[in-house]
């Protein structure tokens, strides 16, 4: 059956759904960043397993490696760039989290949104009374 033969794709989709659940439902920002990383790596996994060949060998031409048995090298080159971009995004997001904690003292998204609206209405009241 085709669905069971493509079990790599099923695994990638399940991991994507787990990551998406984490980003939507969890309230802590660091948990959301972990979910974002899981989503990114699941997409890379899907993309690389598209270029697989049954019984293939790695695309490195040493010795007498036969080019007609190698797996597809182009997705691997593209995903190498993708992994680098993923780690850059994670580093920048974590430094923003440090700054956020220093300013507000909490990492809970619901509390942060409530704090922000309270501060906005507080400033509005001061301006109205003056």
């Amino acid at each position: 059956m085709r669905l069971l033969h493509n079990y790599h794709y099923i695994g990638a989709m399940v991991l994507f759904c787990i990551g998406l659940y984490t980003v939507i439902v969890r309230r802590n920002i660091i948990k959301k960043l972990i979910g974002l990383n899981i989503m990114e790596t699941s997409v890379f996994f899907f993309y690389i397993s598209l270029g697989y060949l049954d019984g293939g060998i790695a695309p490195i031409r040493t010795g007498g490696a036969d080019p007609s048995r190698m797996v597809n090298p182009i997705p691997q080159a593209l995903i190498l760039t993708g992994i680098v971009v993923a780690v850059s995004v994670t580093a920048l997001a974590l430094s923003l989290v440090i700054l956020l904690y220093r300013q507000y003292g909490t990492l809970d998204v619901d509390h942060l949104m409530r704090d922000e609206t309270a501060q906005d209405s507080g400033v509005g009241e001061e301006e109205a009374t003056q």
């Binding site: 399940v14 759904c17 397993s49 080159a77 760039t81 580093a91």
Partner: protein, 249 residues
């Protein structure tokens, strides 16, 4: 309520994705259309045109050099944004972020780390220089150097690690990946081809393979050095301590 709605949405998305996966062509099929034209052209011509044994290095540095130039720009932008948000570490006020723990490092751990870090850096240099012969490359070597500095700064403290690779050394080298790419591109223009051409049309064709190899190695070293400095700078920047501002609870 929000949790139930999002669970419904994710289940619907999951069912849709499973339906798509069930109708995809089988994985690993030797008769796929790309196997007849696209892949043999890259695999067979890569060794003569790019002079590398590792086809993937030939693709990312030669055939798709623009993508790699964008990638090193993204790394440098991430470093610039982290420095804009957090600032560099100041030599007068750093405390090691591990000093808050209660156990100092013992003599055994310190000796082992002193022994291991040069070996790790040697391995990373090997990975960078062999990027075109075996699996490896510039970015992998840069990440390994970053990992070695992480070990060093965890055991010995941020002050000592910042003494080994001071800011005067790091700051000019952080952009070396982008500068190397730009330099090689302009050299390609001077050599008579397009931007980022490795095989210059102006020199004789017996010299061209050597020039291609040397330019590829130069770009690999630039990416490795730049990536290493970027990771070390991000690490030092994020682990600096300063006086805590009272949270606006």
């Amino acid at each position: 309520m929000k949790k139930l709605l999002s669970l419904l949405f994710i289940s619907a998305l999951g069912i849709l994705l499973l339906y798509v996966v069930a109708n995809m062509p089988p994985m690993g099929d030797p008769g796929a259309p790309t196997r007849e034209r696209v892949i043999p052209r890259y695999l067979e011509e890569a060794e003569e045109e790019t002079n590398t044994t590792n086809v993937i290095t030939g693709i990312i540095l030669n055939y798709r050099g623009y993508d790699t130039m964008g990638e090193v720009t993204v790394i440098f932008c991430a470093l610039a944004c982290v420095l804009a948000v957090l600032g560099r570490e100041k030599r007068g006020r750093i405390y090691a972020f591990v000093d808050r723990s209660t156990t100092p490092s013992s003599v055994i751990v310190k000796t082992m780390v002193r022994f291991l870090v040069p070996l790790i850096i040697l391995f990373s240099v090997y990975t960078i220089m062999h990027g075109e012969i075996s699996p490896g490359g510039g970015f992998q070597g840069g990440a390994i150097v970053g990992a070695s500095m992480i070990i060093f700064s965890t055991i010995f403290g941020l002050w000592e690690a910042s003494e080994r690779i001071p800011q005067k050394l790091r700051a000019p080298l952080e952009g070396s990946a982008c500068i190397t790419f730009f330099l090689v591109g302009v050299l390609g223009l001077i050599g008579g081809g397009n931007f980022l051409t490795y095989a210059w049309p102006r020199i004789s064709s017996s010299l061209q393979p050597a020039v291609v190899t040397w330019l590829t190695v130069l770009v690999e070293i630039g990416i490795g050095l730049g990536g290493a400095m970027v990771f070390i700078s991000i690490l030092f920047s994020m682990s600096r301590e300063e006086e805590e501002i009272a949270p606006a609870a």
